[in-house]
């Protein structure tokens, strides 16, 4: 394997056992994977793990400091912070998986068509992407959120609109490289339909960089969701979002710091986890990109 030229490593299916071995040898990637697995477990098991329902208010027990009954204390409505943190993982993951699903589907489909067909399809897709790129990303998300009104659906729509052009542009660039490969020409000569060429011949070759992109993107999406919720444009009460919890907590940071600090810590650890995992996957799946500028 070590004697093969670089091109041979990056093209074609790699030995899964070898990849797994290299992944396990990378402490950063393992730490990232552990955090992500833990987070998914928390999100899935939130109703079992949480000691209280996330919307269980008790105004007589507002801003209670940590105790055996409330491990991280309570917020201004007397809701258990720990329970809300655990359910907040659901919100974060639900939004990020939805946005990722939408943007990968739309971005890959449009990017592949633009890259393979060229011509006016390429022009239309590229100009649409340019429009979104002309705005700083959060600015555009705020514009969309202002029009649609604050809600979780708004966050998903706004972030999907901001995020798909990046996927489309990357896909288009990857397809442009593949389009002139001999195996694609062979498929064309054989009369293979365009859809089949794209899905069966080109898609498998462009998936690894897109996986890397997606894993790095999740951190960005979670951060953006929290930003919008912090500004009041995102997920609404009583549904818990780490962003809006931090906003509530900041108002009482001097007297009751537990809400803001625990929310910030959850968010920071989550994003560090996804970024470490993303970096690890990039080193693994995309040797050419490893240690490069992006």
């Amino acid at each position: 394997m070590t004697d093969l030229p670089v091109a041979a490593i990056s093209v074609g299916p790699a030995d899964p056992g070898r990849l797994a071995y290299r992944f396990v040898r990378d402490p950063k990637a393992c730490a990232g994977a552990a955090i992500v697995v833990l987070l998914v477990a928390i999100a899935a098991l939130a109703p079992v793990l949480a000691p209280y329902p996330y919307d269980d208010t008790d105004l007589l027990a507002a801003w209670v400091p940590p105790s055996s009954a409330h491990w991280i204390g309570t917020d201004k409505l007397g809701r258990d912070i720990l329970s809300r943190l655990l359910f907040g993982a659901r919100t974060s993951l639900l939004v990020s998986v939805s946005v990722l699903g939408i943007t990968l589907t739309v971005g890959m489909a449009l990017g592949m068509l633009a890259g393979y067909l060229g011509g006016w399809v390429d022009s239309v897709v590229s100009r649409l992407a340019d429009i979104v790129f002309a705005f700083p990303d959060v600015v555009f998300a705020i514009l969309v959120a202002a029009v649609l009104g604050p809600s979780m659906l708004t966050v998903i729509v706004a972030l999907s609109i901001v995020w798909w052009p990046g996927v489309a542009r990357l896909t288009r660039a990857l397809v442009l490289v593949q389009r002139n490969e001999t195996f694609v020409e062979a498929a064309v000569v054989c009369g293979t339909p365009v859809a089949r060429i794209l899905v069966r011949h080109i898609l498998p070759n462009i998936v690894p960089p897109l996986i890397v992109r997606a894993s790095i993107g999740i951190g960005f999406i979670i951060m953006s969701e929290a930003t919008l919720s912090l500004l009041g444009l995102g997920v609404q009460e009583p549904q818990p979002s780490w962003g809006s919890m931090i906003r509530d907590g900041l108002e009482a940071l001097r007297t009751d710091p537990y809400l803001a600090l625990s929310g910030s810590a959850m968010l920071a650890v989550t994003i560090i986890g996804f970024n470490l995992l993303g970096d690890g996957l990039r080193d693994l799946l995309d040797p050419k990109l490893a240690g490069s500028l992006r």
Binding site: D130, I131, F135, V139, L143, A146, T227, P257, G263, I271
Partner: protein, 313 residues
């Protein structure tokens, strides 16, 4: 060179057209009747409502409203505020316009030298403890969201140690935390680039030549290699600036700074959409102009980029 600048200026037009079109469409699509917002408790007064509608041009057909909107923006006029009745948007923005650019430029002034130096320093000491320290800073700086960082720093520096004020604006000590929060992610991003660039530059022949001539290691690194790290870093200023504009909303809201970002968010909740849209438009314009300036600067430095279709290194 003049042709290049002109071409780039022309390229700005579609961006502006789209931004103007989108903000106008958003103004039309936004929920709620602006006149009802303005009147609040006088909503039964039909005559007053009609007068306001006429003053704000809301009685005109949509296409005419659009033409007025475009014409006014071309003259630097963003219309009238809904929240502060009879007040031009530009007057509402005036105070913020004095604050936000200072904040962004101060952050850039801190982030650029810090990122360039830290990244290069790490590359020179590759795989030793300075490198590890910088990489930890990178991962934390890029991953920890600005508001989480703000929470930690405010808690430790302002509340526990009491060395800096919690929030506000107007004095130097109040600016320290917001500028730090804005600068740290940018510095981390720049440091990551600088590290990668320096590692690459140190492989070049001219570095070996400089060493072979018997130059001191310090001169080789900082006089020869470092300059070649700076130019590609400069091209990233546009990206950095986009990030800064986005962070402005959060930092100004958290630290209660009377800038454009906080004003935009307040305006959205007060249904003062002309102000919010004007700020979004301004931010888009800033972003486009900064990117243009970076392109021109790079073209001035590297003639190859002036050719048609030339892309940045």
């Amino acid at each position: 060179m003049t042709m290049f600048v002109l071409r780039r200026l022309l390229g700005l037009m579609p961006v502006l057209a789209v931004a103007i079109g989108l903000t106008f469409a958003a103004l039309q699509a936004l929920p709620g009747d602006p006149v009802a917002v303005m009147l609040s408790d006088h909503s039964a007064d039909a005559e007053l409502a009609a007068r306001l509608r006429a003053e704000y041009g809301l009685d005109q057909p949509v296409w005419r409203q659009f033409l007025t909107y475009v014409a006014h923006i071309a003259a630097g006029d963003f219309g009238l505020s809904f929240r502060f009745v009879h007040t031009p948007v530009i007057d509402v923005l005036a105070d913020g316009l004095k604050v936000s650019p200072i904040l962004a430029l101060a952050a850039l002034a801190v982030a650029f030298p810090l990122g360039a130096f830290a990244g290069s320093y790490a590359a020179i000491h590759r795989n030793r403890w300075p490198d590890t320290a910088v990489i930890l800073f990178l991962v934390a700086g890029i991953s920890i969201p600005n508001f989480a960082l703000a929470t930690f720093l405010v808690y430790v520096l302002s509340i526990k140690l009491g060395v800096l004020p919690v929030a506000g604006w107007g004095t130097l000590d109040r600016a320290v935390l917001p500028v730090m929060i804005l600068a740290i992610p940018c510095a981390a991003y720049l440091a990551r680039l600088a590290r990668a660039l320096m590692l690459e530059v140190l492989q070049h022949d001219y570095v070996r030549t400089a060493r072979a001539k018997g130059m001191s290691e310090r001169a080789v690194v900082w006089r020869h290699a470092f300059r070649n790290v700076l130019v590609p870093l400069l091209t990233q200023t546009g990206v950095i600036f986009g990030g800064l504009l986005s962070t402005t909303f959060v930092v100004e809201t958290i630290f209660n700074i009377p800038g454009l970002g906080r004003l935009a968010i307040q305006s959205i909740f007060a249904r003062d959409y002309p102000v919010a849209m004007a700020i979004i438009l301004l931010f888009t314009l800033f972003y486009a102009v900064i990117n243009l300036m970076v392109d021109v600067l790079c073209a001035a430095i590297d003639p190859r980029l002036r050719a048609e279709g030339g892309s940045r290194p």
